[in-house]
């Protein structure tokens, strides 16, 4: 897809179909026209919400509007591939996430991009910790009992997830692999909403998902939280113990969203974007909006290119084998 920006000398509105003069090179400083930030998921989802909140403030710093374009497809990989192949001029960016960058290589054998080498990282915009939750009347009351129950009754338990490639899917594959019950019955739903609905209704037994989606139901007592996969407890859920407290310290994983550009983005453009992202995350209003979502604001290291690259490398290493062993494949 060519995304040509051509200035024509003609002022008149053309009716003919194929006009288009290659104009003079644009010499002004970056950015001198609106920037497109792709979101590879439907509008209104967690990735989209974070992209919209962050980009609003970044637009102010950059002095150009950032347009969010939602193009969903194939677990987000279609759009991610499109951005990987785009011109590295800073006008095409993507709000990537754990699924499109860390999990996709193991899930999609025909993936058209390499999440590490085909992108220029900018920084992480938001981190969403993962909680393990069960239905209200599940026999286990803490993580130790939960793990024991799963091991003892692998044929009785049903796990819900939000579709192959979703955060709920990926993080639970890791959990099941670490507990040693990789083949546990998994029920796929189209999105977190329907899965959560059946968990609250008691039709399925447990799921893992981002804290953002689960907090209200945990607080209302509609579902039980077994543990949160972060090093320390979260302020929004002070009564939920960490996985380390529950005897499963190796289960450490969080969902994350980060901005990427195509590979070969010039250093000065990358610096400008990193700076804009930093300013957005330091802005009290933006910061509060993200925190209200249940999102953890990335620290100074994580919101820099090198930090995000490290998180990406860590997650790819963590998820690769469990995902490949799970047998789930996209194409």
């Amino acid at each position: 897809m060519t995304n040509l920006s051509r200035r024509t000398m003609l002022g008149a509105v053309a009716v003919a179909a194929s006009l288009g003069f290659a104009g003079a090179a644009q010499a002004q400083a970056y950015p001198n026209k609106p920037i497109t930030m792709f979101v590879a998921f439907a509008a209104g989802g967690p990735t989209d919400v974070i992209a919209r909140i962050v980009s609003e403030h970044m637009s102010k710093t950059l002095g150009q509007q950032i347009i969010i374009e939602n193009v969903a497809g194939a677990g987000g990989t279609t759009t991610t591939a499109r951005v990987a192949a785009a011109a590295p001029d800073g006008y095409t960016l993507i709000m990537g996430q754990m699924g499109t960058h860390a999990a996709a290589p193991a899930l999609y054998p025909n993936l058209k991009y390499n999440p590490v080498t085909d992108f220029t990282p900018i920084g992480i915009a938001g981190i969403t910790p993962i909680v393990i939750v069960t239905k209200k009347d599940f026999p286990a009351n803490n993580l130790r009992e939960f793990v024991a129950y799963l091991k003892a009754n692998p044929d009785k338990v049903n796990q819900a997830h939000a579709g192959v490639g979703s955060t709920a899917f990926t993080t639970c594959v890791l959990l099941k692999a670490q507990i040693g019950v990789p083949k546990l019955n998994a029920v796929a739903y189209r999105g977190t909403g329907p899965a959560l609905n059946d968990l609250v209704g008691g039709q399925v037994d447990f799921m893992c998902d981002q804290v953002t989606n689960l907090t209200p139901q945990i607080l209302a007592g509609n579902i039980k939280a077994m543990g949160i996969a972060t090093p320390a407890r979260l302020p929004v859920l002070p009564n939920v113990p960490t996985t380390a407290e529950g005897g499963l310290p190796e289960y450490q994983i969080s969902g994350w969203n980060g901005i990427f550009g195509p590979k070969g983005l010039p250093k000065d453009i990358q610096d400008k974007l990193v700076d804009a992202l930093n300013k957005a995350l330091e802005d009290p209003t933006t910061n509060k909006r993200l925190a209200d979502l249940g999102t953890v604001i990335p620290n100074a290291q994580e919101r820099a290119p090198a930090g995000m690259a490290a998180v990406l490398a860590r997650d790819i290493a963590l998820l690769d084998k469990p995902l490949r062993d799970s047998g789930a494949v996209g194409q």
């Binding site: 060519t2 995304n3 040509l4 920006s5 509105v13 006009l19």
Partner: protein, 165 residues
Amino acid sequence: MLRPRIAAPQDFAGGLFLIAIGLGALWASSGLGMGTLRAMGPGMLPKSLAVMVAGLGVLLLLTSLRVEGPALDRWSLRGLIFVLLGACLFALTIRGSDLPFGFTLPAIGLIAAGPLVAIVSAFASPETKWGEVLLFAAFMTALCAGIFKYALGLPIPLAPWLLGY
């Protein structure tokens, strides 16, 4: 035409159509596993449905041989070609596209692709008055730009070659 022996030519053709789709779907889903009832594979439903569609096609075909029914309609190619061509041209030019053999179409945006749809599709009707169509196309495009681009704020390229977006 197979007129002499078929009582309901329209249904006969409809039956063939269903059989073709059914077989096509069966072929397209041939690589998908059926799975078991406990863990249904991705191919279970598409394959069963394809067989059922083709089966109903056969049934329709058989009844059409005996039971009287309507004759086959003529296809009006003029409407078909220009209406669909208009839509396809819009698809190819709104953001530009790469065609086979190294040809590319420029991204002309809504300002030019809009009138293009209206004008190309206007060839579909014998009643078209060209002056009227040109004016109307310009007016409708302006209206659409106003509604979709400005009022609703949808990210539609307006005129990348002129405005840069």
